[in-house]
């Protein structure tokens, strides 16, 4: 009812308006102001929750800023020198890169495989999709705690189960050696995220028109040829999106290692973000150094993402 009565009022009536030019200019100005108004909430939020914190981190990174005492004046470039001189700086970078490569390859490979499986399978489609996706509903910290319990040498069920089956003779120490700790964490991440990447790639797969496949089949292409020459190229945008998300996510890995290994055993699984946390809250209690490392990580991420986007654009142009 109300919409019917208000609608005619808002329609412009040229006859009722005073002298043309000024009204148009004020209308333009009005529209500009309106545009600003629309953009304002986002601008305020970005400014308040993104720009301001980053500026604060930049200020911290050039200041002597102990956790408990607050700002004690400038300390540049000592903070950055101290960060690079930290004995876990290079090991943490090497470990983070290694972890990123492993996680990205496994997640994208398995995600794609699962997406194809769900796509092709007609009978089990619903069941498979749900089964793959359910772990994604669990928070990463909760999932890490779950695996902490599963891996626990005292109470975890996996090791006794394998022993009963006769697959292993001794209790398995899932987090006891550097290699075991890395792969145990990778397993958790694959379990938690493969379903998520499957979903993203599934959307990409469904966007490939059926006619292309039909045409290929009429031309007598074999399944592998179809996959290599049609599915992969047409899936590239989705694959690139997944790669960027996966690489960025893995470079910033923290929760899983913080809960499962705390950087151990023997400081072998310290990621860069964990090193930031250690500098800020675990002993050194130095927010200045932690902020300096954060800035370095931020710069590295910007460069890596820029390279990835450029790669994506180039392939698009081809």
């Amino acid at each position: 009812m109300t919409t019917h009565t208000t609608a005619p009022v808002s329609t412009p009536r040229p006859a009722a308006r005073p002298a043309g030019r000024r009204s148009r200019r004020s209308a333009l100005r009005g529209r500009g102001a309106q545009g600003w108004l629309y953009a304002m909430p986002t601008a305020v939020f970005v400014g308040l929750f993104f720009i301001v914190p980053i500026l604060l981190v930049v200020q911290m990174s050039v200041s002597d800023w102990p956790l408990l005492a607050g700002n004690r004046g400038p300390n540049f470039p000592e903070n950055f020198q101290d960060v690079v001189a930290n004995k876990y700086f290079w090991p943490s970078i090497v470990f983070t890169l290694k972890y990123t490569v492993i996680a990205t390859v496994l997640l994208l490979g398995l995600g794609l495989g699962m997406a194809l499986l769900v796509q092709e399978s007609t009978r089990w489609k619903g069941f498979l999709r749900t089964a793959f996706l359910v772990p994604s509903a669990l928070g990463l910290a909760s999932a890490s705690l779950l695996f902490y319990a599963l891996y626990s040498p005292q109470s975890g069920p996996i090791s006794p189960f394998l022993e009963k089956l006769g697959l292993v003779d001794e209790p398995i120490s899932f987090l006891g050696t550097p290699t075991a700790a890395l792969w145990s964490t990778v397993f958790l991440i694959v379990w938690r995220f493969a379903g998520f990447y499957m979903l993203l790639l599934l959307v990409g797969l469904q966007n490939i028109p059926g006619e292309v496949y039909e045409a290929a089949r009429i031309d007598g292409a074999k399944p592998f040829q179809i996959f290599r020459s049609i599915t992969l190229p047409l899936l590239r945008p989705s694959l690139m999106l997944c790669t960027i998300m996966c690489v960025t996510g893995s470079l910033l890995a923290f929760d899983q290692f913080y809960i499962l290994t705390k950087g151990g055993p023997d400081n072998s699984t310290i990621t860069v973000v964990q090193l930031i946390y250690n500098m800020a809250f675990q002993g050194q209690n130095d927010l200045g150094r932690a902020a300096a490392l954060s800035i370095l990580v931020l710069l590295a991420l910007i460069v890596i993402n820029a390279l990835q986007f450029r790669g994506m654009r180039q392939t698009d142009e081809k």
Binding site: L68, Q154, L175, K262, G264, P265, A280, F281, Q282, L287
Partner: protein, 410 residues
């Protein structure tokens, strides 16, 4: 409810102005502590709230997140009125000015000289006192009497030397019972190992730190003997599954499940462990005898940001009173922080508490400004030393000890 109100009328005298007991005028106070002290903190706060006009609201934070939480609050000047701190962090926190100076108030207590000296010393910075003992946590040897009987050991004869501890652990391990081990410790946890191993060094007559807390003395012959006993237990398989990986989250769990024969343990958990296990208690011995303990736990002070200093002091003065120490802490099997109350009616009932209270006087609290970074942090040089000394070839102890000194001396 009625009883509660009655108590409050009896106990809650109104103080209009500041007095030696502080002010009890219905102020709302806030108190922070970390999860390991949850039981004692809850009991104390409930008892205080029931008998006073002031009301304390308690916030408990997981152990690993506590420093971050306090740090964030300190930076934004939003610390609570009262907050507790792991006693080994107290020297650092007082030097950073997080607490209010309460020297005169502490000295005004008639029993000031009876308060746990280790905690008072840790809370003293440049001759000013900032901190009172909140909850004392001592490390003592716990042993499972049932497993001792099964292994043919005398359940009334706990180990009197560290080497004997090793023999007992091996004997229980030799039972071959499923899931049962001779001993257990936090092999990947700096805080657990310092809490349970330092006493053996002290009992052996050596120190762990120089008096000013800038030099590590953990490569002494006594210290090496201590590591050797633990290494021997590791090599002979007397340790429980997962000892090497134990980051401290569950290091007290297996004993409570009755799966560990004998191990150094926090005394605050006696009542909890006694629910499921027939627990025997003994002092932690040195390699060849002697006894000592780590006087740990939390100190508590009034924060720099508190606007209710007089009311907050009312809680602290009550905390050290006989009402709180005996009727709350001792009654619940906890250690009192006043020497003159160690011999109280509750402690006398349980010989284990007598043992704990007696050894408290022989213990120490190490004081160093950079303690957390040198010992408790997951990437601390102490943890490197521990793991090298008992899981590795024990050849890097001297070098690792130098690393600890390097951190302490920054």
């Amino acid at each position: 409810m009625l009883a509660r109100r009655g108590q409050r009328q009896r106990g809650g005298r109104r103080h209009g102005r500041d007095s030696p007991e502080g002010v009890d005028d219905g102020t709302q106070l806030t108190l922070w502590t970390r999860a390991p002290m949850e039981k004692q903190a809850t009991l104390l706060v409930d008892a205080y709230n029931a008998s006073h006009e002031n009301q304390v609201s308690l916030t408990i934070t997981p152990n690993d997140d506590y420093v971050a939480k306090v740090g964030a609050a300190a930076g934004s000047s939003s610390l609570p009125d009262l907050f507790a701190a792991d006693i080994v962090y107290v020297p650092n926190w007082t030097s950073q000015g997080l607490f209010t100076d309460i020297t005169d108030r502490i000295d005004g207590l008639p029993y000031a000289d009876e308060l746990a000296q280790g905690h008072i010393d840790a809370g003293t910075y440049e001759d000013q006192e900032y901190v009172l003992p909140f909850v004392l946590d001592l490390s003592v040897m716990f042993y499972n009497k049932d497993l001792y009987r099964e292994a043919g050991l005398d359940p009334e004869k706990p180990p009197t030397t560290l080497k004997e501890y090793g023999e007992h652990a091996k004997a229980i391990s030799a039972l071959g019972k499923d899931g049962v081990s001779g001993t257990y410790f936090g092999g990947n946890c700096g805080g657990c190992t310092l809490f349970t191993w330092f006493p053996s060094v002290w009992a052996g007559g050596d120190q762990v730190l120089s008096a000013d807390g800038t030099e590590s003395l953990l490569a002494s012959d006594t210290a090496k003997d201590v590591y050797a006993v633990y290494k021997d237990m590791v090599d002979s398989g007397a340790i429980g599954n997962g000892t090497k990986d134990e980051t401290g989250a569950t290091w007290t769990g297996p004993f409570q499940e009755g799966k560990v024969g004998v191990m150094p343990y926090p005394a605050t958990l006696l009542s909890t462990a006694a629910e499921t296990v027939d627990v025997g208690v003994a002092p932690i011995p040195g390699p060849d005898g002697g006894e000592s303990t780590f006087v740990g736990g939390d100190g508590i002070g009034i924060s720099k940001d508190s606007k209710n200093e007089a009311a907050a002091w009312n809680f602290l003065s009550w905390l050290t009173s006989e009402d709180a120490q005996v009727e709350v802490l001792a009654k619940n099997n906890d250690v009192v922080s006043r020497a003159d109350l160690a011999d109280n009616k509750y402690a006398a009932v349980d010989p284990r508490l007598v043992t704990i209270n007696e050894v408290a006087a022989k213990g120490s609290t190490p004081v160093a400004i950079n303690f957390q970074q040198a010992f408790n942090a997951p990437d601390s040089p102490w943890l490197t030393l521990v793991r090298g000394a008992v899981f590795g070839d024990a050849k890097s102890i001297d070098a690792d000890n130098d690393e600890i000194t390097a951190v302490l001396d920054q």
